[in-house]
């Protein structure tokens, strides 16, 4: 069992062969032969007899195309299943499958990671797409294209055409293309390539009826090979021939904003403002106001006393404590999950979804390229790093968009080492916000410094190359509230589904340990390190154990300890630094095992733990020597 995050949308091959799916063990579909419309819908030419095809499995339709052209949106429109939609290349890093009725036939639709070329050097997510469409996994290829970038799309069309599969070309975002003054002569283009070409605006559902009709009658692409003409030349000529350019009518504000966020003079202040807004919304409103209402109000004043009163009627003391004691399922497990972490996660996902859809995050790559270069990566790595703030497990999977194994390994290591996930980040802000701003700066300063140092070393020690920085920037857009809402709901549901059970299991585990004296034993055995080196109360050891189950669970435990006044300012900073750098949570570790194998995962685990303890020790004694307190 590997708990996968919502965006994971299933690992590439986890679904296995769709024909094996329990829904249709022997999905026998009836299909009308290619290029023949449904006989009940339209009169069929006499020359073409409707063919009733008996299939061993449903027809598979693969949505393929350049990154960030709207494949996942189209997938959602076709199947009614939501695949995470964002405004940056590389949102989809695995295959998502869904089922739909096309004409009279049940079809499997496959959403694939974006791809720019079929042959040549591919990153891992691109290789997944190539495997799908070159193998037997796709019977019909629907190429989705950004209507503004016809030339690029056609280069890919030529390569897909070489596979000899039936095909349809979808020109998506024609509304934006029109705003950019681009119009395409669709009938002429369709005639020339020999496949249906459909114009759509997937966000609004425009053109979907036409697409569904076209799916029953795909064409065999005709790519006339002329001597001395490669796919580049072919695409260029075709695009120029069928594209009309008119005056642009794109919004001035959009252009101004795009320029403002990427120029250092305006972009860096904007970045500060964005971070501050996040702090206000997540750290103050979420972690303080909402948590206060839920923890102090709902749970503290109502639910927990009520549960305790109910539990008091239970005849067994053990059961009473199990539900409402110090390590009670309700008083600890549920309180942590619902009252402390949920508000924080929800507010974070809301603002994060907004940033994802605006197209802002990839532009940070321009500023950070030089720093990442020193760490053996390039600016592109800013995407997994920032996504790690949402969930490190999901971000570990997103590293597939990086080009070389070395880059992936460094990125995965840095994610495991230093990037705090949303819940942890906000509990950090919630705890340190109550102490001092200097404490917050110390923590982030130490963690960032540690990440740069480790990255710098890893870049020199690990074999392999880094790739040069070439990144496509998505357009700046005003996010659609509907999509942010759907995404947030999906992520919160995932949190509730994955985290709450783990919180409860963890609490039960702690309860059992406490009963058999395991917690005392743990505190004793780790005393030399926890108290001696790190200068923390022995009880903090259990918080670190909790942190391994889930980082936010540990952070919530620390939040609780700090609230009870058991820790000094310095101790809080040291404990949080160690926990931030400490080993990743179980889900993240399992993801590393799946992506890089058990040996790498073990190595990362040992290394990260070592760094965390060492850094905490140095920090503790350093602060002591300098007589600093927070």
């Amino acid at each position: 069992m590997s708990p996968s995050p919502p965006d994971a949308s299933g690992p590439a091959e986890s679904g296995g062969n769709p024909a094996d799916s329990p829904k249709a063990p022997l999905g026998i579909g009836f299909a009308f032969g290619r290029s023949v419309a449904c006989p009940y819908a339209a009169p069929t030419p006499a020359s073409q007899t409707p063919l009733l095809t008996l299939r061993a499995r449903p027809l598979r339709i693969a949505l393929v195309g350049n990154p960030n052209v709207g494949k996942s949106l189209l997938f959602g429109r076709l199947t009614g299943r939501y695949a995470t939609v964002s405004n940056y290349p590389g949102t989809t890093v695995g295959i998502t499958r869904g089922r739909t009725l096309i004409g009279a036939e049940v079809c499997d639709v496959l959403d694939t990671p974006g791809i720019n070329v079929l042959d040549g050097f591919l990153s891992e997510d691109e290789a997944i797409t190539r495997r799908i469409i070159t193998g037997d996994d796709a019977d019909l290829v629907v190429q989705v294209a950004d209507a503004r970038n016809l030339r690029r799309a056609l280069m890919l069309t030529w390569q897909i055409a070489a596979l000899g599969k039936p095909m349809i070309l979808v020109l998506n975002m024609v509304d934006e293309a029109h705003a950019h003054g681009i119009e395409i002569d669709v009938p002429a283009l369709a005639a020339e390539i020999g496949i249906p070409v459909i114009e759509t605006v997937a966000v609004e559902g425009r053109g979907m009826a036409e697409l569904r009709t076209a799916l029953t009658q795909p064409g065999e692409p005709v790519v006339r090979a002329e001597p001395g003409k490669d796919h580049v030349r072919w695409a260029h000529d075709l695009a120029v021939k069928h594209r009309r350019l008119r005056r642009r009518s794109i919004g001035r504000f959009q252009e101004w904003l795009n320029q403002a966020v990427r120029q250092p003079a305006t972009g860096l202040p904007i970045l500060m403002a964005v971070l501050y807004a996040m702090y206000l919304f997540v750290g103050v409103f979420g972690a303080q106001t909402l948590v206060g209402l839920l923890e102090g109000g709902l749970f503290g004043s109502w639910l927990n006393p009520a549960v305790a009163a109910l539990a008091d009627r239970l005849p067994w003391a053990l059961l009473r404590d199990f539900i409402a004691g110090d390590y009670g399922l309700v008083t600890m497990g549920l309180t942590y999950a619902i009252a402390i972490v949920l508000p924080v996660v929800t507010t974070f996902f809301l603002i994060f979804g907004f940033l994802e859809d605006s197209g802002y995050i990839p532009r940070l790559a321009i500023f950070s390229d030089r720093i990442f270069r020193a760490m053996g990566l390039n600016g592109k790595a800013v995407l997994p790093m920032v996504l790690g703030l949402g969930c490190d497990t999901m971000a570990t999977m997103t590293t597939r968009m990086l080009n070389t194994p070395k880059e992936r390994l460094i990125a995965i290591l840095l994610l495991a080492l230093g990037v705090p996930c949303s819940a942890q980040l906000a509990t950090i802000m919630g705890i340190l916000g109550g102490i001092s701003f200097a404490a917050l700066l110390t923590l982030f300063g130490v963690v960032l410094l540690q990440m740069v140092a480790v990255g710098f070393l890893a870049a020199r020690v690990l074999p392999g190359d880094r790739t040069e920085f070439i990144l496509e920037l998505p357009p700046i857009r005003l996010p659609r509230l509907g999509n942010i809402w759907t995404k947030t709901l999906l992520r919160v549901r995932w949190y509730l589904g994955e985290a709450v059970p783990l919180f409860l299991i963890g609490t039960a585990l702690l309860f059992a340990l406490d009963r058999i004296g395991g917690l005392v034993w743990l505190a004793n055995i780790s005393r030399p390190v926890v108290s001696g080196w790190l200068g923390l109360p022995p009880r903090t050891a259990e918080v670190f154990v909790m942190g391994f189950l889930r980082r936010d669970y540990g952070a919530a435990g620390l939040f609780d300890l700090a609230n009870q006044g058991l820790l000094t300012g310095v101790q809080v900073v040291v404990a949080l630094t160690v926990m931030t750098l400490f080993m990743p949570c179980v889900a993240n570790l399992l993801m590393i095992v799946r992506e890089r194998g058990p040996r790498v995962a073990l190595a990362i685990l040992v290394f990260v733990t070592f760094i965390a303890v060492m850094t905490g020790t140095v920090l503790n004694h350093g602060l002591g020597l300098l007589h600093l307190s927070f």
Binding site: N116, V117, G120, F121, D146, R148, N149, R151, R152, M155, A177, H180, G181, I182, V232, H236, V240, L245, R246, R247, R248, N258, Q259, R262, Q263, P264, R363, A365, I366, F367, D369, R370, R373, N378, G379, T467, E468, F469, I470, L471, E472, L473, P475
Partner: protein, 99 residues
Amino acid sequence: MALGCSISRFDEARPLSSLVPGTAGVVVKVLRDSSGRADRLTALGVTPGARIRVLQTFPGIVFQCDETELAVERTVARSILVDVATAPPDTGTTLATYL
């Protein structure tokens, strides 16, 4: 665009890395090296004949190629040769004349 006019007399290809923001032109050639850089650029639409416009040069180079906005490091920009003499007027209305 004063610069575009002043250098239009010299009909020669210049590396993208040497152009100032606002310069427009047409890609003449993408230099090949061993790293597959040219293939990656080609796949993103940076091919001979593509019209480009430099948007920013610091801290990284950002340019627009067709309707794609790309950010690259300097080494990459050095390998893209641009003919600024055939630069189109910035309005985008008479594109057909130079394509």
